[in-house]
Amino acid sequence: MIKLSRVTKIYQTDLVETIALNDVSFNVAKNEFVAIMGPSGSGKSTLMHILGALDQPTSGDYFLDGQNVSRLSDDQLAEIRNRKIGFIFQSFNLLPRTTALKNVTLPMIYAGIDRHERQIRAEKYLKMVGLSDRMFHLSNQLSGGQQQRVAIARGLAMNPVLLLADEPTGNIASDQAAEILKIFCQLNDSGHAIIMITHEPDIAQYAKRVIVLRDGKIVEDKKNHHRLWT
C-alpha cells in the first residue's frame, strides 16, 4: 500500500548541501503498525514529511495507495493529505478556542462533505477515542491527552488509508501517553495502517515493526517480538 523506492532528499542552503534521506526504500502493508526511530538528525522528520505529502523527495518515488505522490502539484498534494492521510502532530495543532467537534469536522469541510454528515462522523470518532462527554469543550479547555485524542479523531475523520503520527506522545504525561498508544493499537487491530515517528524505545514497543534510521539511511528494519500490546 505504501511503497518508497530509492527516495533521496537533499536540502540545499547557500553553500552547504545536506543529505537528509539517502536512497531509502521500504514498503508498508495495509494492516501494519510501524515505528520509525532514530536519533535527532537521522532524517526521520524528513521522512515523515514525505510520507505525509507535506514535502516532495529530490529523487525517487513514493506510491501511496497506488498513486505516485512524488510527482504532484500543490493542490493535488492537498487533496492527498485530505483524503488519504490522517495527521497526528506532537503539538496537536488544534484550532485554538474551538470546540472538539468543530476541530474534527475541519478536514471534512475541505472535502466538501455536507454539514449533517460531518456532525454524525465527528461524533462517531470522538466517541471512538473516548471523548463523547467533551465534544463541546474548547480545545484549550482540554488536557494534553484529550487534545491528542481530538487530533486522532480528526485524523480518522476522512477514513484515511494511513495514520501518520509524529512524536504523538511527546507533549503528554506518561499515563495519558499509554492511553493514546492503546488507541493506536485498537485502530491498527481494526485495520488502519499506522506509521509513528518516535525517538523513545518504550513508545516504539507498541508497534509491530520498527525501522531505525541513522544519517538518512535505514540501518535496521525488524519485526517487534516484544510487543507490549497483543
Binding site: H49, G52, L54, D55, D74, D75, A78, E79, R81, N82, R83, F87, F89, N93, L95, P96, R97, T98, K102, L106, P107, I109, Y110, A111, G112, R115, R154, M158
Partner: protein, 406 residues
C-alpha cells in the same frame, strides 16, 4: 466548499477571537470615521460662511467714494468726499436707471457712545428708513428710523444687538437715552442679532437718521456708502453699469478710469469669500489626506499583524487538505467582512460626530459624498490588500514551515 460554507467559516473565525476582531474593526472605524468627520466639518463651516455672506443681501451693490485705480493716495474708507445724498436720490429717481429697486444712502463713523456708566466705541451709521430693508435688519423691539426722523433731524437711535448689550446689559434700552459726541439721543429700537463676527460686525452698530448724523454728529455733507438694491440677482451686472454711468455723468467725468467712486457687488465679495473658503477646503483636504494616511496605516498594521499571527493556523489548514486558493479566499472574505463592518460603523461614527459638532458649534451639517467614497474606498482597499497579502504569503509557505512559524 461553497459560498455559504465559506461565509459561515469566516464568521465563526471572526467570532473566535473577539478582541482581535474588535481591534481590527476599531482601526477601520477610526480611519474612516475621522476622515468623514473632518471633511464634513470643513464643508459645514464653508457653507456657513457662504450663507452669512448671502444674508448680507444677495442683490446688493455697494458704492463707495474713491476710484478703483489705486495708484494715488486715498483717504481712509468712508472719508471720501465724492458721494452726496443727491447722488443717492438721483439713482432712485433717474429715468436712465431701470434695474434698481431701492437705494440706501449711508454715512458712518466710529464714535464713543455713553449710556450711564457704560461706554463703547462703535460704528455710528446715519441711515434712511430703507436701510433696514436693504441691509436685512429686523427689529427685536421698538421701531426703526422713520422718514419723519430724517426730515426733522430728530435725535433718535436704534441699537445693534452688540451695542445694546455693551451699553445696557440685559435691561431693555428702548425709551432710554445715550450720548454721542455729548448729545443726547433717545433709543427707539433694538435690532435682532445678525450673527456676524470679526470685521464689519453688523451687530456692533448704532443707527441714527442720516440728516442728524451728517449735520449734528459728523459735520459733513458727504456719504460713506450708497447701498443699491437691484431688482433681481440676474440684473446685478446691468444695475452696476447703469449706476456707474449715471454717477460718472453726474460727476462730469467722461473716462471711467478716472471715476471718483467704486462699485462693489455682492458677487465680488462672494468670490473673495469663496477664495477664503477655498483655502479652507484645501487645508481640510490636507488634514483629511493625513488622517486617511494615518487611518490607512492603522488598518494596514492591524490586518497585517492579525493575519501574520495566524500563519500556523494556515499551515494546519493546508496540512489538513485546504487548497491555497481556498485559504486566500477565506482570509480575503474575512478581511472584507471586517472592512465592511468597520466601514459602516465608521461611516455612522463620522457622520454622527460631525452632526453633534455642527449642533454644538452651530454650523450647518454637511456630508460630502466624494469624501465618504474616498474614505470608505481607500480604507476598504487597504484593508483588503493587507488582509490578503499576508494570507497569500503564509499560504505560499510549505505547510511544514507555516506550522513551525512562531
Amino acid at each position: 466548499m461553497d459560498l455559504i460554507e465559506l461565509l459561515r467559516e469566516c464568521f465563526s473565525n471572526l467570532a473566535l477571537n473577539k478582541l482581535r476582531t474588535g481591534l481590527a474593526i476599531l482601526g477601520i472605524v477610526i480611519g474612516i470615521g475621522s476622515v468623514i468627520a473632518l471633511v464634513s466639518i470643513g464643508q459645514g463651516s464653508q457653507k456657513q460662511v457662504e450663507t452669512q455672506i448671502q444674508s448680507l443681501g444677495a442683490n446688493l451693490l455697494t458704492v463707495i467714494p474713491g476710484g478703483q485705480n489705486s495708484g494715488a493716495v486715498r483717504g481712509a474708507s468712508g472719508g471720501g468726499t465724492s458721494l452726496t445724498l443727491e447722488d443717492a436720490l438721483g439713482i432712485l429717481s433717474s429715468s436712465q436707471i431701470t434695474t434698481v429697486k431701492s437705494v440706501s444712502p449711508e454715512s458712518s463713523r466710529r464714535l464713543q457712545a455713553v449710556a450711564g456708566k457704560n461706554n463703547t466705541n462703535t460704528q455710528v451709521i446715519g441711515v434712511y428708513p430703507l436701510y433696514a430693508e436693504i441691509r436685512k435688519i429686523n427689529l427685536a423691539s421698538g421701531s426703526f428710523i422713520s422718514q419723519r426722523d430724517v426730515d426733522s433731524l430728530t435725535k433718535v437711535a436704534v441699537l445693534g444687538a452688540t451695542a445694546a448689550s455693551d451699553l445696557f446689559g440685559d435691561s431693555d434700552p428702548v425709551g432710554q437715552n445715550l450720548r454721542l459726541n455729548g448729545q443726547t439721543f433717545k433709543i427707539i429700537g433694538v435690532a435682532e442679532s445678525k450673527g456676524g463676527t470679526g470685521f464689519n460686525n453688523a451687530d456692533d452698530a448704532i443707527y441714527v437718521p442720516l440728516s442728524t448724523a451728517q449735520k449734528q454728529l459728523f459735520g459733513t455733507n458727504y456719504l460713506s456708502t450708497i447701498a443699491v438694491e437691484a431688482k433681481s440677482k440676474e440684473l446685478m451686472t446691468q444695475a452696476q453699469n447703469e449706476v456707474g454711468y449715471y454717477l460718472l455723468s453726474r460727476h462730469h467725468l467722461s473716462d471711467p478710469t478716472n471715476a471718483d467712486f467704486s462699485i462693489f457687488s455682492q458677487n465680488d465679495i462672494l468670490s473673495a469669500a469663496s477664495q477664503v473658503t477655498g483655502t479652507f477646503t484645501t487645508l481640510l483636504s490636507g488634514i483629511a489626506a493625513i488622517s486617511l494616511l494615518v487611518g490607512g496605516i492603522g488598518i494596514m498594521n492591524i490586518m497585517f499583524v492579525t493575519v501574520t499571527e495566524r500563519t500556523r493556523e494556515i499551515g494546519l489548514r493546508k496540512s489538513l487538505g485546504a487548497k491555497k486558493k481556498l485559504i486566500i479566499t477565506q482570509f480575503l472574505f474575512e478581511a472584507a467582512i471586517l472592512t465592511f463592518i468597520g466601514g459602516v460603523i465608521g461611516l455612522i461614527f463620522g457622520v454622527s460626530v460631525s452632526f453633534i459638532l455642527s449642533k454644538t458649534l452651530s454650523f450647518p451639517f454637511a456630508v460630502s459624498f466624494p469624501s465618504v467614497f474616498l474614505a470608505v474606498g481607500v480604507s476598504g482597499i487597504i484593508g483588503l490588500v493587507f488582509g490578503w497579502y499576508p494570507a497569500k504569503k503564509a499560504s505560499d509557505l510549505p505547510p511544514i514551515v507555516a506550522l513551525r512559524y512562531e
